[in-house]
Amino acid sequence: MKEFLQTVIAYRYETAAMILFGIGFINLLLQKNLLRKVMAFNVMDSSVFLFLAAQGYIEGRIAPIIVNNDFSATTYINPIPSGLVLTGIVVSVSVSAFFLALILRLYKKYHTIEFDEIMTLAKKEAE
Amino acid sequence: MMKFLMPVAVLLPFFSAPLFALKRFRSIRALKALTYTVVLATSAMVLILCAAYDGQMLKLAHITNLLTIGLNVDGMSRVFGCVVSILWPITTLYAFDYMKEDHKKQRFFSFFVLSYGAAVGVAFAGNLITMYLFYELLTLATLPLVMHKMDDMARYAGKRYLLYSIGGASFGFIAVVFTANYGGANAAFSLEGVLDASLVAGHEQLLRTVFTLAFFGFGVKAAIMPLSGWLPTASVAPTPVTALLHAVAVVKAGAFACIRLTYYTFGTELLKGTFAQFIPMAAALFTIVYGSARALRTNHLKRRFAYSTVSNLSYILLGVTMMSATGLMASAQHIISHAFVKIALFFCVGAVLEKEHKEYLDEIEGIGRRMPVTFACFTAASLALIGMPPLPIFFSKWAIGESAIELATGWGYVSVAALLVSTVLTALYTLSIVTRAFFPLGNPQVAVQKRTETRSMTAAILLVTVMMVLLGLFSGTIHTTLARWLIGGAA
């Protein structure tokens, strides 16, 4: 049990990321309110980026932005995860934007953003 | 040249079926002309092929590297081909009279011709995969015929028929897969089976289970017991459909498929004496007795003869499960004799249904006076069904009995007993109809009643009955030709 705690402490960012991922995932799935779903989605994605950043971090090194012509790889932390995070953020932003646009459209139509109510209204309209 | 007559014979009905939908053939005369030309042309081609074809399998198409579609005319296809090509024109003659006031004639006759092509396809299939193809097409072609009336009874019958046939065919499909992988599926049917011994060596038990499954799969069309529910309900279809398809073509295709499966694909050595022989035989025996018993209990005339078909088909399947040369001969002979007898019976019942709109047993009290010729033929046909000596079914039952005794195990005697019990039941359910027809209760009206039977329908009935009697009298020649075709003249 003790060494388990030590590993958790050692990799505290990764564990936090995983927990956040769980929270985000469950809420995205189960939340009724659409806005909460969007928020849950963002929590989920950023937890992945946290995980990536934590993995790429090397103690005592600076961010991978070249300062005063120092090209040796040892001064900076591993740049690739940061690159991936960048792309990831781009992706999750565009998806969130799309999601919000849809919610707006639904709200104009059904004047509610509770997904159950929308479903029942849609079903009633179908008959 | 003969090689290319085969695909023409099979494909002519398929390509001519869409023609029926054209406006030009809306009038009855044009429709009749078209149907007759197509049916008679196909019958002529089939008969020529049966008589004079001795080439190898004509390969038409390769599906995967294991499967090829090919047509071939060997002994067994000659038997089935002749039966189909002789009886189909007669039914067309009968069908036109029967469908006189039906207004959906064009659709009826297009599928009528389509199923003829499929039946010929089944007959001339060169290997198991081709037969499976035409077997499926036959189901799909006959489905609209069964559902012709489009009321909910017909729809229910159609759905049930579809469920049973496709279910059966999917088990047949498993056999196609195994024969493809364990032997040459594209190799043509040959009497000692298609599987090559090297591959089969370790897997006999597996192949036997597959055979039993496939036997019941193809047996669905031959209405073997656990799966014969569809035939009686399908008798709701118009009579020419019931007569031709459920007494002759469709069910015989099922029996024919079982013969192909047992003798020409798996080969009898692999199956003789094992559970693969006894399970189908037990099912066939049970069906023989069950079919006749149910027939005795039903009052609806057509359904009664549907059950009788169920029982008679299991005669053929019993012959098949004997897995001996005489067994094959006996089942082939019974295919022929039962086809003619049963079609005559269905025609008579159809005439009663069409002209007097009577379907049930207690409605036909004393009808013998009003339809004397029809019921005379009916009596002759029912005597034949019982198995009176000079008529054909006696000889085929005798042959099945002989092949059963040749089996010399307990099964042989049980089969003979089942045959006899079913004969008695057949006598009861046919003669009870004859008694009601000719000897009505109470004292008969002395005045001669108006005759309610039309000439062309009676003509068809008479023609079939005469052919049946001739078939009986010439059963000797038929026996020898069968021997020549099936076993190269040995028996």
Partner: protein
């Protein structure tokens, strides 16, 4: 050969002709027809040579007249003639009578064919045709009960034919090829089983117990003439079948001593006993007669199945005398029913005074059935018991005991009827309307039959001689 065909085809065509005629003088026509067919039969009997054989594939259908059925060829038309005379007298003259006469003729034609068939296959075919043609006779009354009785008849007769078919299949191809004196040396392992099946199949018509249950309802529901015919001629056909099979297919030596023979004989004894007991208890006269005919027929079967000369002769005698006596009894019962409408034996108390001649003959014939010395029955019983003794063994003596016991029982069945008819006892008030005028056409057949029973009873030599010659020819030199 032409005569043979004529004897078969003439009655059939005449029958169809009679059915076709609606009303009109059917009776006279029928009488004329039956006389002609009698003539044809007798001439065929005497002069027919050669035969007709047709090959259908490997199956042979052959007609030829050998010695055994010649006697029957004569007996059948005589009985038919007497039945017709009785029918003219007693039956109602309505539209259905033409149909009855027609089917009588058809049945006669089929019977001739049965007698003429030269191998087991043809015999089987016409055996089936007879049951099919006699089936409308049972249907004659057109009531629901008659139809049920007819269907029972059809059911049992086809069970019989099925058993025969099974037996033929087991016996194999060469057994059904021909009837040869002394039988064919059959290689089949299951000969005994085949013989048993065949005998049981024919036994259905010849009155063996389980399968002859149709006889009682059939003769009760159908008109008396049909009843007489059923237990007279049709039953004899069954017996003929068993005789042909045992002597001319399997051969008597091969079968004697086999387990099939013991089974059949014990079954025949059981039938004899059962028939007599049931007859003793049965209130309705016609049923009583049917039960007794079942037991009497199994007497004949016992005789034939012992495969001894004496048994054979006894069987022949029994067949002849029983046919005459039972037809006579049926006719007298019919006359009583037609005159007074009485069906039950208890109602017939004291009608002897009104119908003295009929009841007199009834008494005489029942004595013959019981088997008292001067009458034919005794001769048959005498030969049968001698044959049984020759057969010997426990079963032989059992047969004799059974025969005597059932004779006693049938006495108990019939004699009280005759007695109470003439001596009704104190408390009987003579009914007012005096003696019934029984038509002469009704009386003639009864008198002729009683005379036959009496005359041949006194001089049985004629028939025993015929029996002896027959046995010699068909058994192929057995002792």
């Amino acid at each position: 050969m032409v005569l043979l065909l004529l004897s078969i085809l003439f009655p059939m065509c005449f029958g169809v002709f009679v059915i076709g005629r609606r009303g009109g003088r059917v009776g006279a026509l029928a009488l004329g027809g039956i006389v002609i067919s009698l003539m044809i039969n007798i001439s065929a009997l005497l002069f027919a040579r050669g035969g007709l054989s047709v090959y259908v594939g490997t199956f042979l259908f052959a007609l030829a007249l050998d010695s055994l059925p010649r006697m029957l060829m004569a007996l059948a038309p005589v009985l038919f003639l007497l039945t017709f005379v009785f029918l003219l007298g007693a039956g109602k003259n309505d539209a259905k009578r033409a149909r009855l006469f027609g089917f009588f003729f058809l049945t006669l034609g089929a019977l001739n064919a049965v007698y003429a068939s030269a191998n087991l296959l043809t015999f089987y075919m016409f055996f089936e045709v007879v049951s099919l043609l006699s089936f409308p006779l049972v249907l004659h009354d057109g009531t629901e009960r008659a139809r049920r009785a007819a269907l029972i008849y059809i059911g049992f007769s086809f069970t019989g034919t099925a058993l025969v078919l099974g037996g033929m299949k087991l016996a194999g191809m060469e057994a059904i090829e021909s009837f040869t004196a002394g039988g064919v040396a059959l290689s089949e392992p299951h000969n005994q089983l085949a013989f048993l099946l065949l005998a049981l199949g024919f036994g259905c018509k010849a009155g063996l117990y389980p399968l002859s249950a149709w006889m009682v309802p059939a003769s009760n529901e159908s008109p008396v003439s049909v009843g007489a015919l059923l237990s007279g001629v049709v039953a004899v056909m069954g017996v003929l079948g068993i005789v042909r099979v045992s002597y001319q297919v399997f051969g008597a030596e091969r079968l004697s001593g086999g387990w099939a023979q013991t089974v059949l004989i014990s079954l025949a004894c059981l039938t004899a006993l059962m028939g007599a007991m049931l007859a003793y208890r049965e209130p309705i006269l016609k049923k009583r007669l049917a039960y007794s005919s079942i037991s009497q027929l199994s007497y004949a079967l016992i005789g034939f199945l012992t495969f001894t000369k004496l048994g054979f002769i006894g069987g022949v005698l029994q067949v002849f005398f029983h046919a005459c006596a039972k037809s006579g009894l049926f006719f007298s019962a019919g006359a009583v029913q037609e005159q007074t409408g009485f069906l039950r034996v208890s109602e017939m108390k004291g009608i002897g005074r009104d119908m003295p001649l009929t009841m007199g003959c009834f008494a005489l014939l029942s004595l013959s059935i019981v088997g008292l010395p001067p009458l034919g029955g005794f001769a048959a019983l005498w030969e049968l018991s001698r044959g049984a003794f020759v057969y010997g063994g426990a079963l032989g003596s059992l047969c004799v005991a059974v025969m005597l016991l059932s004779a006693l029982l049938s006495a108990g069945a019939f004699l009280p009827v005759a007695a109470s008819a003439f001596f009704p006892g104190k408390d009987f008030f003579a009914c007012v309307n005096g003696p019934r005028l029984v038509g002469w056409r009704v009386l003639i057949p009864i008198l002729v039959l009683s005379a036959a029973v009496l005359v041949f009873g006194i001089f049985p030599g004629v028939f025993s001689g015929v029996g002896e010659r027959l046995f010699a020819t068909i058994s192929g030199g057995m002792s």
